[in-house]
């Protein structure tokens, strides 16, 4: 959220509109233009910047030199299998645990900086809130802890309840909530006070398909208003739906970073139907990728990015007749598994 964007929020300080969803009705919690914490940012710096971040728990290495950069205003997917170090990384960024090495900057300040936490919303993987409070009381508590100006509490709480679809349950005790409702409440807590950075750790783990759709709608609305979203998930479909860029984590390291299109196109495959190739063509073309005959077709996998035109040119120069070229679309899951196997 840039200062200019804050100025666009209007006299009520309300956020930008969200795409309508089942729960998200377009409103986001009140933007805090009178919040000194919101102004204390380092413009231009990435939302998150980690350099060789390490974390060791006795003999277990949870993070092994994680480096990544998350730009402001993007939805960044942090993908990896269970035990890859994703939640440890999130906790390091929030200052809940200390790094064993390396450094991380969040919104232009060292990770865990007290003032910067005012500008961060967080939904933990293990979302639990005081079961003896009502949903509204939990949100008010976080308004206090977030040091939101008191006049804004009522509006912020109502907005948060509405966005996450709990308007009718605000006065019910959290202890009576289902797991999915508690996760919705956690999302509401994370959105309070219009944070510049929202960190969501497995935000749909307890939600049904409707809830997942709602969360995707909320994430898109956050992006539309310029909020950075750091989405920690192992659900690739979730990332494919909403993320601008992703990092794939394996064994505590980032093994690939980029947009989904870049990742999927990093090692393209192509299916060819070719006739008239002279003997000895194989030696000239083998270097383009991994060749597999498939009936009348040839499948060329694991090519370097951007080499398809060169391949077609080379076939033609060898006297071949290219009858058909069909790019093979690799799914994120295939690419994900490929990357994990490579490492």
């Amino acid at each position: 959220m840039s200062p200019a964007r804050s100025a666009e929020a209007g006299p009520e300080g309300r956020g930008l509109t969200a795409s309508p969803g089942h729960a998200a009705d377009g409103a986001v919690p009140g933007r805090v233009t009178d919040d000194p914490g919101a102004r204390a940012q380092a413009p231009g710096s990435p939302a998150i910047h980690a350099i060789e971040l390490r974390k060791r728990y006795r003999r277990t290495v949870a993070l092994d030199g994680l480096s990544m950069s998350v730009e402001r205003g993007e939805v960044f997917g942090f993908l990896g299998p269970n035990g890859a170090g994703k939640t440890t990384a999130v906790k390091l960024l929030l200052g809940l645990v200390r790094p064993s090495g390396g450094e991380a900057m969040v919104l232009g300040a060292p990770a865990g900086d007290l003032q910067t936490r005012r500008r961060i919303g967080y939904l933990p993987e293990l979302f639990r809130y005081q079961s003896w409070l009502t949903a509204r009381e939990v949100l008010v508590l976080h308004c206090r802890l977030r040091r939101l100006p008191r006049p804004r509490w009522a509006g912020a709480v109502d907005d948060a309840l509405r966005i996450v679809g709990l308007s009718g349950r605000g006065d019910d005790r959290v202890g009576t909530f289902s797991k999915g409702m508690q996760q919705r409440l956690g999302l509401g807590v994370a959105l309070l006070g219009e944070p510049e950075l929202v960190v969501l750790d497995e935000p749909t783990s307890a939600l049904d398909p409707v809830g997942r759709h709602d969360v995707r709608t909320i994430i898109r609305a956050l992006r539309d208003r310029g909020t950075t979203v750091f989405l920690n998930t192992h659900l690739l479909a979730e990332a494919e739906h909403v993320c601008d860029r992703v990092a794939i984590i394996s064994r505590g390291r980032s093994v690939a970073t980029g947009s989904l299109a870049e990742l999927k196109a990093a090692r393209p495959s192509v299916r060819l139907r070719v006739g008239g190739l002279a003997d000895g063509w194989w030696e000239r073309l083998a270097g383009f990728g991994r060749w597999t005959p498939d009936g009348d077709w040839l499948l060329v996998e694991d090519m370097a990015a951007g080499r398809v035109p060169d391949l077609v040119g080379s076939i033609v120069s060898l006297g071949g007749q290219v009858e058909a070229v069909i790019p093979e679309q690799q799914t994120l899951e295939e690419r994900f598994l490929e990357l994990l196997e490579e490492k």
Partner: protein, 282 residues
């Protein structure tokens, strides 16, 4: 409102909502009612001579306060042991710690809230007790307010220690260790008294050391002193060394150096708890 007050009020509200306050109230009513009945029967015992009645009332008050101090200490341990560790285990604390709040503010707020509950509990039961004993027998201990303050101090000492343990250990372990240490400190006091009575230097030293390491027993003895009429102490001092004194008596007022040490001990343990929690990884 500062984060410390927010957490302190949250702690009190939790005690109310989780019916801890209701349980305390119920126990207090039972305690005071039973003791009222007991004091009434004791003071109206037709078999008592006036001299026996004169001795029985202070002793009964001291015994009641001993039992009550035990209830306060156990309650302190029970409410402090899950305060940090259970909230870390459940994940509740991570959502609070991710906010612009110092860990020290969270711990101090919890300490303040729990100590406030303990203070209210001690004050109400002690006040009711004074009223009931007066109604039943017309007897009032020399300084029941000072005695209640020292019973509260004893409870707060244990509460602070268990809160420190709770920053590193599970609720069960912190509670069990806290109660065990409380018992060991009481035994240490008994050992010191035996050393005093039979003039065994090593036992006397062990008793003193235990009172400095964990001042709960020392504070209990301070409470007892303010419940004893002056003739009671004079009479005990006149006894031969072999028979005077027992764990329910105190023959001298608490010394200022000891009370100063108890205050320093409390602050040290609290600061240790704050530091431990600041360094705890969530």
């Amino acid at each position: 409102m500062s984060a410390v007050w927010t957490i302190a009020l949250l702690t009190v509200r939790e005690a109310v909502r989780r019916r801890l306050v209701a349980a305390f109230a119920l126990i207090s009513v039972v305690l005071v009612t039973l003791s009222g009945w007991g004091f009434y029967r004791l003071s109206h015992n037709v078999g008592f001579t006036s001299g026996e009645s004169h001795v029985a009332m202070p002793e009964a008050v001291i015994l009641f306060m001993f039992m009550f101090s035990f209830v306060v200490a156990l309650s302190a341990s029970a409410i402090a042991s899950p305060a940090i560790s259970s909230e870390i285990d459940s994940g509740v604390l991570q959502t609070v710690a991710a906010r612009p709040v110092r860990r020290g503010e969270v711990l101090f707020g919890k300490w303040l809230g729990l100590a406030g509950l303990l203070a209210a509990y001690t004050a109400i039961v002690s006040g009711l007790q004074v009223a009931v004993v007066y109604w039943a027998s017309g007897y009032v201990a020399p300084d029941p307010a000072a005695a209640a303050a020292f019973v509260f101090a004893e409870g707060v000492a244990l509460l602070t220690l268990v809160l420190l343990l709770s920053t590193r250990l599970s609720a069960l372990a912190a509670g069990v260790i806290g109660v065990a240490l409380f018992g060991v400190a009481w035994l240490g006091g008994v050992v010191g008294l035996l050393g005093e009575t039979f003039n065994v230097h090593a036992l006397r030293t062990a008793g003193h050391v235990s009172q400095y390491l964990l001042p709960t027993d020392g504070l209990w003895h301070a409470a007892v002193y303010y419940l004893e009429p002056s003739w009671f102490i004079t009479q005990q001092l006149a006894e031969t060394p072999g028979v005077r004194g027992n764990p329910f008596m105190s023959l001298s007022a608490p010394s200022w150096p000891y009370l100063t040490w108890a205050a320093i001990w409390l602050v040290l343990v609290l600061v240790l708890g704050l530091t431990s929690f600041e360094r705890r990884e969530l």
